[in-house]
Amino acid sequence: MDYYTLLKFGHIIGFTLLGGGLLAVWVSEFQGYRTDDMKEFAESSRYTAIFYDFLVIPGALTVGTTGFFLVRELGLGFFEEPWIVGMWGLFLFEFVEGNTITRIQFRKTMRRSQRASEKGNVLTEEIRDDARSLINQIVHFLDIPMTTVIIYCGTVRPDSWAHVLTAITIALCVTALLVIFAPRLARRGGQ
């Protein structure tokens, strides 16, 4: 296996870890929204943290490293094509956002839900709101649409900024819809 193939293989494995981790986080959070059981609510937030630490972070580091060396190996240049700028720009944004705002938010969710669970509290809307704030929901629901735009940039390779910006706009709209409807749908499904 040559150097380029090895990098490409690593890039796909990294993407799989990252994508799988984000999807697993999505599912565990969905379970958290859906349940009426306090222990299950606290456990879901713990699983969110586990998926971040064991899948998302290793995946992001692998994707970032192999992506950097792939661009260098192919001699593409980091600023010459809109799709490459879209890929690393969004990745960097997600990486920084994921390790700052998102990390603080899901740690807070885990702490508060576990504290409530240890006290033997019944799961109320106040506890839900306290554990998962609006900013928590926005950063959580932003992950999958943005990752989809990164995949779009990497596979379709749009050669104009208009296409990349349109994809980002669509992703932001999808995020807004998810923030509004996903928790409600999950609650309805759980009842």
Binding site: M1, Y4, T5, K8, F9, I12, I13, F15, T16, L17, G19, G20, G21, L23, A24, V27, S28, F30, Q31, K39, E40, E43, S44, Y47, I50, F51, F54, L55, E73, L74, T148, I151, Y152, G154, T155, V156, R157
Partner: protein, 157 residues
Amino acid sequence: MLKFIKALHVIGVGLFFGSILGHAVAGLAPGIHDSPHTRLVARQIIDVATYYLTLPGLALLLLTGVALVVKRERPIRNLAPHLFIAVLILVNAIFILYPTGQDVLGVTRDLAAGAQSDGVLQALEGREAMFGAINILLCLLAILVGVIKPGSEKEQS
């Protein structure tokens, strides 16, 4: 058109293989054996992920895989081994892993409801771990075969 099918194929890889990795992490999470309730939450997450991610991902992979073969003008290198591995993954997932996962969920629910453990769960989890590991290896192999294109230029890749 071909690029969009390829993009969907990559999304299928993320959904299917990514969710399998998620199952593995959920099944090996710290403290999972501490209480039947903790184990039940993990199994519920795995069950939801199977319905909404793994199985749709597998369907997407198969459909886009067929579309890629049909739409491409040039023959795809390494297609035969890639297809062979895909069939093995499909058979393992549909006929072994999916039914075993359902059985594990059922037994875990019983345990969380207060039933006594009689070793059935350990046997089922052992089978799931073995065939799950085989599927992960097969997925890695399928990706490797898909990535290695002998004789092709970097630019074509």
